[in-house]
């Protein structure tokens, strides 16, 4: 058995006599219980033994609530919970905790040898005992049996006015204050919990320098730093200088007028040495007033809406880009229609020529769509334009090459015009004519496509006296749109077209 003296060594002032203290506790008419931090019984005094009727040797070292479980009544679990909560609070907060009124039934052996429970009402004080390092080593329970003070044990039994005056009412009042405190504390903890776990960012700034008194997890996430408690807003977030937010807080503090920011742009340096990041915030800064109505601080809360602002911006860009492309495509089609009409007075040939040009454009779009507008395959484009004439007459020879969208759209039209000319005037206008198309990719200073279109076996050709729309389109497109070169050699054996097109041009070049 441990004596009180040895248990108290750790916390009493030097100079006190342990033996005296120990005997004082032992002799005290008040019941005392000493618990380990895990709520096992470390020691009890004689008064405790007397009031509980337990045998000392049976209970030392045992878990408290296994030894005393408040009996079989329906209230017992709640009674146990109250005592346990008070002990744990004293232990965890290292502050003394009072339990003004608590029912707790105590077992007793009846005359016939059976165990019965006596309903008792107690008032308890739980005091944490700490060592030199400030760690809680014991919890001291001071209990008073106040059953006799209470007019009745059961609240539903009638009470006399006198009882009410001298005891019952006071007790009930004490009980009700205790209940209120408990409720308020739960409420407060719930609010703090909500505050800390809120998905939006929250901070409480105190005083004219806006010192961080409280802030939640989302707030530290937003600003990318942890150590801001107690710092002034200007100290904690120096990267916000020149952005107007310091002045805004000063104004809220001085005028007591709330400030609301919508999609407010903030440049934040979230990591040391990193580039400032742009975020967009919806927030409100509300003045907090003290009892006299003076502004004492500012409550800041809000949401990071950067993603929303960005996606709206991207959507607008995409709609603008789509509009631009659609209008440009319509202008292109308009141009093809007007120029085709000038060369074809007959509506039937106009329709056929116009339609084939539009279909060539459309097919390149299909190829680009299939590649998610990353690049159209050169060989597929050439095959499509030449396959109506029979694959045996066309020789395609070159590496697999993905053409960027703008290049593909231009080359698609160019190949269409070359094939149409070949069918009308060149190699494909005769049964034995053939076309050899060879290409390579030159990788000096960015990729350059070098393509040779050579016709043979057709009628003798010579340079046309007047350039039609097709020819003008070929030359202009290569030079103007693709910054490439083209030479058209009307050799007697057949046309030789040589073209070079840079493939790695950025659109701005």
């Amino acid at each position: 058995m441990l004596g009180w003296g040895s248990l108290l060594t750790t916390y009493v002032r030097p100079g006190a006599s342990h033996a005296d203290l120990a005997s004082a506790f032992e002799a005290s008419p008040n019941p005392y219980l000493l618990l380990t931090p895990d709520l096992h019984i470390a020691e009890v005094n004689q008064a405790y033994v007397d009031v509980t009727g337990a045998r000392r040797d049976d209970i030392i070292g045992a878990p408290l609530f296994q030894t005393f479980d408040a009996g079989p009544s329906a209230d017992a679990p709640e009674n146990v919970r109250q005592v346990k909560a008070s002990l744990e609070k004293a232990r965890d907060t290292r502050q003394r905790d009072h339990l003004a009124v608590v029912r707790f039934a105590i077992p007793r052996l009846a005359d016939d040898g059976r165990e019965v429970f006596d309903e008792r009402i107690w008032s308890a004080t739980h005091t944490p005992l700490m060592n030199a390092e400030g760690e809680v080593v014991y919890l001291l329970q001071h209990t008073m049996d106040i059953t006799e003070l209470s007019p009745t044990i059961r609240a539903d039994e009638p009470t006399t006015a006198l009882d009410a005056l001298v005891g019952g009412a006071v007790l009930r009042r004490a009980q009700s204050v205790q209940e209120d405190n408990r409720r308020l504390e739960i409420e407060r903890n719930r609010l703090v919990e909500m505050f800390m776990q809120a998905p939006g960012f929250v901070a409480v700034l105190s005083g004219p320098e806006h010192r961080f008194q409280m802030h939640n997890h989302a707030y530290t996430q937003l600003i990318g730093r942890q150590d801001i408690a107690g710092k002034s807003f200007r100290e904690a977030l120096p990267d916000l200088a020149q952005q107007g937010y310091f002045e805004m807080l000063d104004q809220v503090y001085q005028t007591g007028q709330a400030y609301e920011g919508r999609e407010a742009r903030v440049q934040l340096q979230r990591r040391p040495g990193a580039e400032p990041e742009t975020v967009y915030l919806n927030f409100i800064c509300q003045p907090i007033r003290d009892e006299s109505g003076t502004v004492a601080g500012i409550f800041v809360q809000g949401y990071d809406v950067t993603e929303t602002v960005r996606s709206v911006h991207i959507q607008k860009l995409m709609i603008d880009e789509l509009n631009h492309r659609v209008k440009n495509t319509l202008a292109t089609v308009q141009s093809i229609a007007i120029q085709t009409a000038r060369a074809h007075a007959d509506p039937a040939t106009f329709a056929a020529t116009f339609q084939s040009r539009i279909l060539a454009l459309s097919h390149t779009h299909d190829l680009l769509t299939r590649s998610h507008w990353e690049g159209a395959d050169l060989q597929a484009m050439l095959s499509h334009e030449t396959e109506p004439f029979g694959s045996s007459r066309i020789s395609l020879n070159g590496p697999s090459t993905a053409l960027p969208p703008a290049t593909a759209l231009s080359l698609g039209m160019i190949f269409h015009e070359l094939a149409t000319n070949a069918a009308k005037y060149g190699a494909l206008s005769e049964a034995d004519g053939r076309i050899f198309i060879d290409w390579t990719i030159d990788r000096e200073a960015g990729r350059t496509l070098k393509l040779v279109w050579r016709e043979s076996g057709g009628p003798k050709v010579s340079e046309p006296s007047k350039k039609g729309f097709g020819n003008r389109l070929i030359e202009r497109n290569i030079r103007h749109d693709l910054a490439g070169t083209i030479s058209l050699d009307y050799a007697p054996d057949g046309l030789i077209a040589e073209l070079t097109v840079p493939l790695d041009r950025t659109p701005a070049e």
């Binding site: 440009n328 202008a331 120029q339 389109l473 202009r476 659109p507 701005a508 070049e509």
Partner: protein, 125 residues
């Protein structure tokens, strides 16, 4: 009947050759003399600066991914009137160029003639 814009020299800045060819055809039909076309901003600026006789310009707003406003600055400094052509309409122009004469793609000969005349302050005959 003589066209009201007969003989006027008009710079064309347009990155798509088919659209440029359409503009040239339309300008030629109106008896104008097309200059260019310039297919990018640098070329457009050089032409706007170095072409000695220039009466007007047709400027595509979005030229190969860049905006045409540097060319417009050069023309404005020279006092050469110009017309913006765009897929977006006047609402797509930044604040400082609002109010400039603007045509929307696709366009007709009549809209181009009217816009040029408005920009140049030429009265209908």
């Amino acid at each position: 009947m003589t066209q009201p814009l007969n003989g006027r020299r008009v710079l064309v800045v347009e990155d798509e050759s088919l659209v440029a060819m359409l503009l040239e055809t339309i300008l030629e039909d109106m008896e104008c003399v097309p200059i260019g076309p310039a297919s990018n901003i640098d070329e457009g600026e050089a032409m706007a600066r170095d072409t000695e006789e220039l009466d007007a310009a047709l400027l595509d707003v979005n030229v190969a991914g860049r905006q045409v406003f540097p060319v417009a600055e050069v023309l404005k400094a020279r006092g050469v009137p110009f017309v913006f052509s765009t897929g977006y309409g006047e609402g797509g122009l930044p604040e400082e160029w609002r109010g400039a004469v603007t045509i929307q793609k696709p366009f007709t000969e009549a809209t181009i003639r009217d816009a040029l005349m408005k920009a140049m302050g030429v009265a209908e005959v």
